[in-house]
């Protein structure tokens, strides 16, 4: 009798000991998450403390300067915006078209396999390799020089896999009944795609495009590799103005700088005053990329909640 009670006691102790491991691991998991949270808080906090004093209207409307307190990010944010325009104009049509082809049209053969392997592989290629591709091909091969066009095309190729994968996933989520309904009414494949598949997958595609653009706007390495200048104290010509009037697309061939390069330039200087500028530029950059990411996450969340086929 006493032995049985002792046994039960032992078993209870064993269970309690095992349950303690559960608790311990939960705590460990929280702790690991906290490392991420703390890093993020430190990163954001440090930049805010350092850079907040530099964030004024002048900071956005001044060109870079040798005097740290007069330097601004005008040419950088204008450059980033223009490069993003070219990037979007490249990556969105190509990526969506490729995604549609792979999901709706592609026959099962070795060519399709080859394309799919390439998309997967390109997603894993380091961004600086794209920079080397652009340096050899766009800058010297096609003679586009170190222009906004070169940078936009490079970043467009870089985020192409992101857009393709997002498009495919969005299309795959559409039930077959929608296609069958359209075909039953005599629609052709393209009519089905353009009138049904594409509109219904638009929100999903948009999420991918925003995430891709957020990545492109923060990319530094490929843009440095093509030889973007770090000190630009002028803006690309505005279409149809000036004397003689600039052409509609003259700006795409203009030299440029972008936000991350401006930040890199300021970070790598020894003077502490420039580090404040770097912090302020970093703050702007992080707020931009994070709000884009947050927007994408929100759209996806809404999507999951609202669409019930």
């Amino acid at each position: 009798m006493a032995e049985a009670a002792a046994n039960i006691k032992k078993i209870r102790a064993l269970i309690a000991a095992h349950k303690r491991w559960d608790l311990l691991f939960s705590l460990l998991g929280m702790l690991a998450l906290m490392v991420g949270v703390l890093t993020f808080v430190a990163l954001f906090g440090q930049m805010a403390v350092e850079g907040a004093s530099r964030l004024s209207w002048d900071f956005f409307t001044n060109f870079p300067s040798r005097k740290p307190d007069q330097a601004g990010i005008l040419s950088a944010w204008v450059g980033s915006t223009l490069v993003m325009l070219v990037t979007a104009a490249t990556a969105v049509p190509l990526g969506v078209a490729a995604g549609i082809y792979l999901e709706e049209y592609a026959p099962r053969n070795w060519i399709t396999d080859l394309i799919e392997i390439n998309v997967t592989n390109l997603a894993g290629v380091p961004s600086i390799i794209y920079g080397l591709l652009a340096l050899g091909l766009f800058v010297y091969g096609f003679g586009l020089g170190q222009s906004i066009l070169t940078a936009g095309l490079t970043l467009g190729l870089l985020i192409l896999p992101v857009v393709i994968v997002a498009t495919r996933e969005a299309i795959r989520a559409i039930p077959a009944a929608i296609r069958e309904g359209a075909y039953a009414l005599g629609a052709t494949k393209w009519q089905t795609t353009a009138d049904h598949i594409l509109p219904y997958s638009l929100a999903g595609i948009l999420t991918g495009v925003i995430i891709g653009m957020a990545r492109a706007i923060g990319e530094t390495a490929p843009v440095i590799t093509i030889g973007a200048l770090t000190f630009i104290a002028f803006l690309p010509s505005v279409p149809l103005t000036g004397d003689p009037p600039a052409g509609l697309f003259d700006w795409v061939m203009s030299p440029f700088t972008v936000m991350p390069i401006q930040m890199f330039n300021w970070t790598s200087r020894p003077e502490a005053a420039f580090h404040q500028n770097a912090a302020a530029a970093g703050l702007v950059l992080v707020v931009m990329t994070l709000s884009m990411n947050a927007l994408a996450i929100y759209i996806r969340y809404r999507l999951r909640k609202n669409i019930k086929w």
Partner: protein
């Protein structure tokens, strides 16, 4: 008597109608073929990009290796292409890359795995809903910002612990890089763990196992190839990372295995050369393509390995 002409007339109308429809169908068909071809071309851009990368890297490296022997490239212990006494040994750059990646993985693999197990097996729904987007955001911070953080926050902090630590070092760059890689490791590992069928967990619980025992002895082994794929993706990320190292680890090639020293990586070297104004076609210009080729081969190896492992874990159930 009347019936014949009427039938004839109907026939004629139908024939007319059919040929009209046929013409429209042919037009429609032609348009469809054109659209399909255009879409196909768009899909081929990814293949063209790969071919472009391979051709450019091989072409420029080929010119480079005509002047520098492959043997020197692989065995020389100095990398000084920009000096008068030029040496072209990839080893110093490779050691910088490997040491910084090792530091990053020592941070990312334990933390990433713990987070993945926690989120997949332990965390309540509400925690997961908050933590996953947060991790995604952590992966979305531009790398130049991480570089700034490593140089101006983590390094001064580490210097308080290790007073002799130089301003540029592989340790702080590697640690920050590790934090950056956590989301990649944790999300792929978690996907692998979630792909483990519920029945396995239920079986384990039915035998009286606790959550911890189920997670470590049933789910993790079952998802092993997926978790390994996550690690390998993390490695390939670390090897290809550029800006954190260019900013925080210095750009001085240094054959060392000590993370407390400054050193250049393959990627940092490419940035350094691109920042200077090198004439197109010079030997120093070609060195960045040779370095890029080495980098591409290393990451390709890891990507293929990761792809194979992921395929295996998908087929398992």
């Amino acid at each position: 008597m009347n019936a014949i002409p009427q039938a004839h007339r109907i026939y004629a109308v139908t024939e007319n109608f059919v040929s009209d429809r046929l013409a429209r169908r042919r037009l429609r068909h032609g348009k469809e073929r054109v659209i399909e071809f255009v879409l196909f071309l768009a899909a081929c851009v990814s293949v063209a990009t790969t071919i472009g990368i391979v051709v450019i890297l091989l072409k420029e490296s080929f010119i480079f290796f005509q002047q520098v022997s492959l043997w020197d490239f692989l065995t020389d212990t100095q990398w000084t292409p920009l000096f008068a006494d030029a040496h072209y040994g990839i080893l110093p750059l490779l050691s910088g890359t490997l040491v910084s990646s090792a530091v990053a993985l020592l941070v990312a693999i334990p933390l990433g795995t713990i987070i993945a197990i926690y989120l997949s097996e332990f965390a309540p729904f509400s925690v997961r809903e908050v933590a996953k987007p947060f991790l995604e955001m952590l992966g979305g911070v531009p790398t130049i910002v991480y570089g700034y953080f490593a140089l101006l926050f983590v390094t001064p902090l580490l210097q308080k612990i290790f007073p002799g630590l130089p301003g540029f070092n592989l340790l702080s760059a590697g640690m920050v890089m590790g934090i950056m890689i956590i989301p990649y490791v944790s999300s792929v590992s978690e996907d692998a763990m979630r792909a483990v069928p519920m029945a396995l967990r239920e079986g384990s619980y039915a035998m009286g196992a606790t959550r911890f025992q189920t997670a470590t002895r049933v789910v993790t082994p079952a998802a092993f190839s997926g978790i390994a794929a996550a690690y390998i993706l993390g490695i390939s990320r670390a090897v290809g990372e550029t800006m954190i190292l260019a900013v925080a680890a210095g750009m001085q090639p240094n054959l060392t295995w000590n993370p407390m020293e400054p050193a250049a990586t393959i990627t940092a070297y490419i940035v350094q050369v691109a920042l200077g104004d090198l004439p197109h076609g010079s030997l120093a210009y070609q060195t960045i393509f040779a370095a890029g080729l080495a980098l591409a081969l290393v990451t390709l190896f890891f990507n293929v390995l990761g792809h194979m492992l992921r395929k295996r874990f998908r087929q398992a159930y």
